[in-house]
């Protein structure tokens, strides 16, 4: 199947004339994009505010960052923080000590930029521990799997991440025998309150094709992110957009920014463990 797209498009384009369409052919007004994720485990709150880029241009997000925006964050207890622009990182920030993020609390983001008043809200979910994480070596292959108990009676969303920790360059962790990031997103739909078992992950070197046993002494850090729905919907669509091959329907990346902008304001809590093969 690997050349299906090539075969189809080759057939169609063999006889084709190609004409490139200028972005100027369409009305495409600028609009701001706001991205921010809250987590009690982060040492700072960071919000990126920037303009959408002209399509097709290779741009540095720092260049498009709107440093003159007014960004503030507040919670339901009346705590408010004004975020300062960090020119080194290109985002607006406040330290976690000055404005701590607490599980279960609702936060509101307000951004005044380019004559627009943008806003969004999110609620920070509690951290849920990993119940069991296993890593096994079979021949030249290294597999890992995680499981955790779902919080009952509420809709829950999760994301699983893993990073190789060791001395060899190029190791990555893939889930479900594919490179698809969306394989790391879970919901408890149909398994409320039950133990959720992840798909089988594998450690591979240089991409998703080769599978390799990791060396003795190497380890893998597994992180369970208990996310809010905004986070889940955003990454479901964002991963699909990143991986889109252009043959499917266009993907609208989820946004919960109100007031004329795009982007996301979402939250998660994180639990992690580090494991090594025995």
């Amino acid at each position: 199947m690997k050349k299906i797209s090539f075969l189809l498009l080759l057939a169609c384009t063999t006889l084709c004339c190609t004409e490139y369409i200028s972005p100027d052919d369409f009305e495409a007004p600028d609009f701001p994009v706001v991205i921010g994720f809250l987590s009690p485990q982060s040492d700072r709150v960071a919000i990126y505010v920037g303009n959408a880029a002209p399509f097709g241009e290779i741009v540095d997000p720092m260049v498009l960052a709107l440093s003159d925006a007014l960004v503030s964050i507040s919670d339901t207890l009346g705590n408010v923080a004004q975020l300062e622009f960090d020119p080194d990182r290109g985002d607006f920030t406040v330290s976690a000590t000055a404005f701590p993020i607490v599980s279960g609390r609702l936060y509101r983001l307000s951004v005044a930029v380019s004559g627009l008043s943008l806003s969004a809200v999110c609620v920070v979910p509690p951290a849920l521990p990993l119940k069991e994480t296993t890593i096994t070596q079979s021949g030249n292959e290294t597999y890992l799997q995680a499981q955790w108990d779902d919080q009952p009676n509420v809709a829950n969303h999760y994301r699983l991440r893993a990073q190789y920790i060791g001395t060899t360059v190029g190791y990555e962790v893939g889930w479900d025998n594919q490179c698809s990031q969306s394989a790391t997103l879970y919901t408890d739909e149909g398994r409320d309150g039950q133990t959720i078992r992840s798909t089988l992950g594998s450690v591979s070197n240089y991409g998703c094709n080769g599978k390799n046993a990791i060396l003795e002494g190497d380890s893998v850090r597994v992180q369970l992110l208990h996310t809010d729905e905004n986070y889940h919907r955003y990454y479901t669509t964002a991963f699909a957009a990143i991986q889109s091959n252009g043959l499917g329907d266009p993907i609208t990346v989820f946004t919960n920014i109100e007031g004329g902008g795009e982007g996301v304001f979402a939250a998660y809590s994180l639990a992690e463990t580090t494991i090594s093969p025995k």
């Binding site: 057939a11 369409i21 369409f26 959408a52 741009v59 699909a240 329907d249």
Partner: protein
């Protein structure tokens, strides 16, 4: 509609005393030269008329002294006394002489008089007269020239009828559904124009005998085969050739027809590619039409017909992506097969029945094989194969009756569907432990019982009303639907007619299709527990007005269609698995997770001006339409216009036949821009601290790029030789070289500074295509 049923039932018991002395006459209308049955001929008895059915049969009630007049475009009209129709067997054969055989080129491409409500008809003569694309006469592209029918993208043979999607059209070839209409990605349709006798297209009022699709029915009939003498015709084009042979097995009793087509792109281009860079690239399509019929006696006919079509695309290269690859092979194919076995019987009082057993199958498949290994070793193979398809078996029985002065058509049918969304195999000689085979299939069934009747009353009024009961079983679920259909027509002096029609339809099949481009990778799936069958209600109001000496006719029609449970596909769903270009392991598409359910609205105005007689004939049509879809999970739940929504469509079709030796055709089509999914910005997305930019499309349906238009011309030069007739045809498709986009892609282009960037590329497939073909008949 509650009030309609009592009217239909009561009308069955209305028995006028004028019928007391009447007799029922029934018979076949045949071409005088070939004894080919002629469907669609109008049989007038006084001011009322009936139409010969798709098998060429008609029945009419008349007193023996009545005059019966038979009219069919392209044939000399005939008037006979009803008494002369009496035959000792009660079955007569009326022979019509083809006009072009006797007169000098008049009326060759006139459209037939409409007697059935809401049906458009195209005869073989009309299809033949259309300009050819690469030597092929395409019935489907002719349908795209009618009002109310939108084209998808350039070159696409799919039909988008009155706001319906491409899978909402029931396309029948000798009663068998055909699921994929395209050869060569839509450049050619799968129907060989030389083998098609007749084409009926229903888009407004759909008679109760048809079911299972929401938007239209395209009913095509193959030629039966000449019962008098052996005949042949064919054509040699630049890229394909075709031939049809037909003749009697036993004169006036049985006949046979064989038609074949094949393209030769592969033979023309492959040698050059292989010689230059070792790449093996080839494509061909071929199809066969077969038909045989046998008259057991005057009242019983057996007919068998079949169609087999195949497209095959192959690509191979010396070394694949793997380092130790020697050569890899890719194959892609799709094929249609239909078979119909039919028994036509004429019973007492000219009751005509048709019993059919129908089989049809559509399959799409891909193969990939990569031979690997060191030069001195026997190569090992990595092989993957994926096949999807649909197979149907249908049994149908139907009657044509005359009851209480009304034409009645009733019957029942049942269809068993077998869907195979995926059947995949993977074999790796290097690591045999990974070998696997996986098949997913879904069974479904549907049945229908229908009653359709036509009643003429109060001098000017005709009511065609019917009801269809549909039963559908899918995904361990059953549904029963009632579909009322009605058309009320008022007509005075045959010059002015008004028609009000209502049609309800249901559909349990959907085509998983990628936006805009009709690819064979699209596959059919049934409704599921979560996705109910689609349903549509359509209301239409139309008028027909004959102008002047009946040379011109003007038709106007407005319609409103409400669609429920229409199928949509989750954003980003791509059914072609190319996430990872190195991934050779095939995957089953999770089609149940992709399907979404929404609603749709469509309304529009259609105008059709036709000139049916004279040296100049043709039609001009204009359509104003608006279609909106709404899905909770698409476009943020906001309504949007689907990609085939075009506000204005104009078709100008003109034929000129100054003498029997020449025919000229000019076609100009225009369609205002349709929505296209084009990125207008890039937006950042943050993945674990890193920012990437992805295309931003804005609201769905927000961007409309460019109007579609083109001009096609052709000239045909006919000559009668001593042993055969020949026609040279010269034509140009898209004469003024308009670049109508076929596909939009995101291409990487190199900037002058050496950097690459993504750009939207509009690919135009068919620009200025000259054509020469040599056609013959003997």
């Amino acid at each position: 509609m509650r009030h309609l049923l009592p009217v239909i039932i009561a009308s069955l018991f209305v028995y006028s005393t004028t019928h007391a002395q009447t007799l029922t006459f029934g018979g076949y209308i045949l071409d005088a030269a070939s004894k080919e049955a002629l469907p669609g001929a109008t049989v007038f008895c006084g001011s009322t008329g009936t139409t010969s059915n798709v098998y060429g049969y008609f029945s009419v009630k008349a007193v023996p002294t009545d005059s019966i007049r038979i009219v069919l475009a392209g044939y000399l009209s005939q008037t006979i006394a009803a008494g002369d129709l009496q035959d000792k067997d009660g079955v007569v054969q009326i022979l019509l002489e083809e006009r072009s055989r006797l007169l000098s080129g008049v009326d060759v491409v006139a459209r037939n008089e409409k007697q059935e409500t809401g049906v458009d008809q195209l005869s073989k003569a009309q299809i033949r007269a259309l300009p050819a694309l690469m030597g092929e006469k395409d019935a489907l592209k002719a349908i795209q020239l009618l009002p109310g029918v939108q084209r998808g993208n350039e070159g696409n043979s799919s039909l988008f009828v009155r706001g319906g999607t491409a899978d909402q059209n029931l396309v029948l070839l000798d009663e068998a559904p055909v699921y994929n209409l395209n050869h060569f990605f839509g450049l050619f349709s799968v129907f060989n124009g030389d083998a098609i006798k007749d084409l009926n297209f229903y888009k407004g009022f759909i008679p109760a005998k048809f079911g299972g699709r929401l938007s239209s029915v395209l009913e095509m009939t193959m030629l039966d085969g000449n019962k008098e003498r052996w005949k042949g015709e064919g054509g040699i084009g630049l890229l394909s050739s075709r031939i049809v042979l037909q003749g009697p097995l036993k004169k006036n009793r049985s006949s046979v027809l064989v038609a074949a087509r094949r393209s030769y792109f592969d033979l023309l281009f492959s040698p050059f590619l292989r010689a230059s860079n070792g790449i093996g690239l080839g494509y061909y399509f071929q199809d066969f039409n077969l038909k045989a019929n046998y008259a057991l006696n005057k009242k019983n006919y057996l007919i068998a017909s079949a169609y087999f079509g195949k497209d095959r695309f192959r690509f191979s290269e010396p070394a694949g992506l793997e380092a130790n690859s020697k050569r890899d092979y890719n194959r892609l194919y799709w094929k249609n097969a239909t078979t119909t076995l039919r028994w036509n019987h004429i019973g007492r009082q000219a009751r005509f029945s048709n019993t059919s057993l129908i089989f049809n199958r559509y399959q799409f498949g891909t193969d990939y094989e990569d031979f690997r290994g060191e030069a001195d070793q026997k190569p090992l193979s990595v092989y993957s194969n994926s096949v999807s398809g649909i197979t149907d078996l249908t049994f149908k029985h139907e009657w044509w009756l005359t009851l209480a002065g009304m034409e009645v058509r009733t019957g029942a049918l049942v269809t068993q569907h077998l869907f195979v969304p995926a059947n995949i195999r993977y074999r790796n000689d290097l690591t045999p432990i990974e070998n696997f085979e996986q098949r997913e299939e879904a069974k479904a069934a549907e049945g229908g019982v229908f009653w359709d009747q036509k009643l003429v009353f109060a001098k000017y009024w005709t009511l065609q009303a019917g009801i269809r009961g549909n039963w559908m079983r899918y995904d361990s679920t059953q549904s029963i639907f009632t579909e009322p259909r009605a058309s009320l027509r008022w007509s005075k002096n045959k010059k002015l007619g008004l028609t009000l029609a209502y049609t309800r339809t249901n559909q349990m099949l959907q085509l998983l299709s990628n936006t805009g481009v009709s690819l064979p990778t699209d596959f059919w799936v049934p409704s599921t527990r979560a996705i109910s069958p689609q349903q549509a209600d359509q209301f239409s109001l139309g008028s027909n007005h004959k102008i002047g000496q009946r040379e011109l006719s003007l038709g106007l029609e407005i319609y409103y269609k409400k669609m429920r449970n229409i199928a949509g596909f989750r954003e980003g769903s791509a059914y072609i698995q190319v996430d990872n270009p190195n991934q050779v392991v095939p995957k089953i598409v999770p089609w149940r997770d992709i399907l979404l359910q929404g609603t749709g609205d469509s309304y529009g105005l259609e105008v059709l001006l036709e000139k049916k007689q004279g040296l100049w004939t043709g039609w001009a049509s204009y359509t104003w339409s608006k279609t909106t879809h709404q899905f909770d999970e698409i476009n943020g739940g906001k309504p949007y216009h689907p990609f085939f929504d075009r506000r204005h469509t104009i078709n100008l079709v003109n034929f000129y036949k100054p003498n029997p030796r020449m025919t000229f055709a000019v076609i100009w089509v225009f369609a205002s821009p349709n929505p296209v999914a084009l990125p207008i910005k890039s937006v950042p997305v943050q993945v674990d601290g890193d920012i990437e930019y992805v295309p931003y499309y804005g609201q769905r349906g927000q961007v409309r790029h460019r109007a579609y238009h083109r001009l096609d011309v052709s000239a045909q030069f006919h000559k009668k030789k001593r042993r055969f007739d020949r026609t040279w045809e010269f034509g140009v498709y898209n004469l003024y070289n308009q670049k109508n986009p076929f596909l939009y892609t995101l291409d990487e282009v190199k900037e002058p500074n050496g950097q690459t960037k993504l750009a939207v590329a509009a690919k135009s497939l068919f620009v200025f295509i000259p054509n020469v073909s040599y056609n013959f008949s003997f």
